[in-house]
């Protein structure tokens, strides 16, 4: 920690259904149909990778470690991060759903071994929409947190994070090491170039299991069912502004 080009950043990335896919609920209500569905890196995690890579390009960061906790195919998600500029990867292989607290416990163990100065991760995954992992990790490590980051300024021993909050922006100063979770407007992630995708294939990728970190990955919340949200009935087209106001008046909306 301290001088330029000495920081280590850990970036946990999650493999999720691509944000462009319209998900379908299985007819038996047991979950979402994931067969033949395109999977990608969680968009908020992409922003986290991008931020780490930019700091490396600025000479502030020395090493970026991308981590994913998920099925064997999550290796592809790590390769994407490596192609964007991360240096090496750790895949913690699991089957089935992994709850945020389990992820946080595994990441805590990795942080204790890797001793990063910062962890960057998405504010939430677009599949379970939990918005918990970064905060839980920070708490388990006894670190500060800057959630929903809109911009970030790094000094030797602290990070200033402007956060997107309900009323506007709030800036906090965090003692390092710390966890930062990324919001939409922090940056625009790059596309990996073909040469970098080729290079990424040669970067080291370690494989682990939750047991290696002494963590039980069994979910504790019981999902009873997954159902379709209630549908809105078909609406009507109006021809003019005054007809629109008549209808709104009738509906008691104005």
């Amino acid at each position: 920690m301290g001088s330029d080009n000495s920081m280590k950043v850990l970036v946990p990335v999650k493999r999720v259904v691509d944000f462009n896919v319209k998900v379908r609920v299985k007819s038996d209500q047991s979950g979402i149909d994931l067969a033949n569905v395109k999977m990608s890196m969680n968009p908020f995690d992409e922003i986290a990778v991008e931020e780490a890579v930019r700091l490396k390009e600025k000479g502030k960061v020395k090493e970026i470690v991308a981590i994913s906790i998920g099925p064997a195919q999550a290796a592809e998600t790590i390769r994407t991060a490596l192609a964007m500029g991360a240096d090496r990867g750790i895949l913690v292989k699991t089957d089935g759903e992994v709850e945020p607290l389990v992820v946080a416990k595994i990441l805590k163990a990795i942080c204790e071994a890797e001793k990063p100065d910062l962890v960057f991760t998405g504010k939430q995954a677009i599949d379970d929409d939990s918005n918990q992992t970064g905060q839980m990790l920070a708490a388990l490590l006894g670190w500060g947190q800057g959630t929903f980051a809109h911009s970030l300024e790094l000094t030797d021993a602290s990070a200033k994070v402007a956060r997107e909050i309900d009323g506007g922006l709030q800036t906090v100063e965090l003692k390092l090491p710390a966890v930062v979770t990324t919001d939409l407007r922090l940056n625009e992630p790059r596309y990996a170039s073909l040469p970098n995708i080729m290079k990424a294939k040669k970067k080291p990728l370690e494989e682990k299991t939750p047991a290696d970190y002494g963590v039980d990955a069994t979910p504790r919340l019981k999902v009873l069912k997954v159902s379709e949200p209630p549908k809105r009935g078909p609406g009507i087209k109006v021809k003019s502004v005054s007809e629109l106001l008549d209808k709104l008046k009738e509906a008691g909306a104005i």
Binding site: A138, L169, Q170, V223, V226
Partner: protein, 313 residues
């Protein structure tokens, strides 16, 4: 045992989301207590004491909690956690910030953004930006829950809870408040407004958002925006309605120049009445709108302004 609700406030006024969270809490465990953490926030505690169904208000009035920084909120909530079998907070940017820390330290899986309490241990919550609803059952033990408050009615006034001072915990020393840039507006707040008028990329510029403002003034509405309009720099980020912005469910949601991307619909589709004005008749927004007007907004908005004036709004 009892449920603890963490109050949402700005040290001066109690946010309505608190009374809605009290409604959800009472379905999980009773009696309900409210924790008000802040600085010089006695008036907030007094307002919380008037919420019907609240038995006790814990007031932690200390500079440490002035900005509700997550690290200090964690230790404060943990200092009373053993007395409660459920701890709930609104799923605001504040509640989402501190509550997962509490869950992690208690080794309990948090249940985020509940829409409905099915039974004391079973909840409905949205996944995939509201494109599916998950029904989850909590294991035995404490429940740590954030509440999507648009799904709950505010508990009425009429309570007279006792207010008890709660000792501050030691400063975690992990983070410091630096500054805040809050949008100032005379208009009602997005998440509690009865009418919301949102503009999208169709507006074309920050200047053109004034067309929306005029209508909003006539209807005493809050002004929102799509992510596209925010990203284009027309309005600040806290205007954003959608999956990653604010979730709103007003009596009337009027979408102007908004195409209706999934992520935007996720933030407003529970509104009672949805109306849309958009040039493109094929826009997905018309599939959720109760009343759709396919028209050029630059003609429709001034017309709407005049028509409202004529009708005395």
């Amino acid at each position: 045992m009892a449920a603890l609700v963490i109050a949402e406030h700005n040290n001066q006024t109690l946010n309505e989301q608190t009374a809605k969270t009290v409604t959800a809490a009472a379905l999980v465990s009773t009696p309900v207590h409210v924790l008000v953490a802040g600085e010089n926030c006695k008036a907030v505690a007094e307002a919380a004491a008037k919420i019907a169904g609240v038995e006790k208000v814990l007031l932690a009035d200390n500079a440490l909690y002035a900005r509700m920084l997550a690290e200090n909120m964690e230790t404060l909530i943990l200092s009373v956690a053993e007395k409660y079998d459920a701890i709930l907070a609104p799923a605001s940017t504040s509640g989402k910030n501190y509550l997962p820390r509490v869950a992690a330290k208690l080794d309990v899986p948090q249940i985020s953004e509940i829409l409905k309490v099915v039974s004391a241990d079973t909840f409905e919550r949205p996944i995939y930006a509201g494109n599916a609803i998950q029904t989850v059952q909590s294991p035995a033990g404490k429940k740590i829950i954030t509440v999507r408050t648009t799904g709950f009615k505010a508990a009425a006034e009429g309570g007279s809870a006792v207010i008890e001072n709660l000792a501050a915990t030691a400063d975690a020393g992990l983070s410091k408040f630096d500054s805040e840039a809050l949008s100032k507006s005379e208009r009602p707040e997005l998440t509690s407004a009865k009418i919301v008028i949102s503009g999208g990329r169709g507006l074309g510029s920050a200047e053109n958002f004034k067309l929306i403002d005029k209508i909003a003034d006539r209807l005493h509405a809050a002004v929102g925006a799509s992510r596209a309009a925010v990203d284009a720099g027309y309005v600040p980020n806290d205007y954003q309605v959608g999956q990653t912005g604010k979730i709103v469910a007003p009596n009337l949601y009027l979408a102007v120049g908004i195409s209706g991307a999934i992520q935007h619909l996720a933030g407003m589709k529970d509104s009672k009445v949805i109306a849309a004005i958009n040039k493109d008749e094929e826009s997905p927004i018309f599939q959720v709108a109760d009343f759709g007007l396919a028209a050029d907004l630059f003609q429709a908005l001034p017309e709407l302004d005049q028509e409202l004036a004529k009708r005395g709004y």
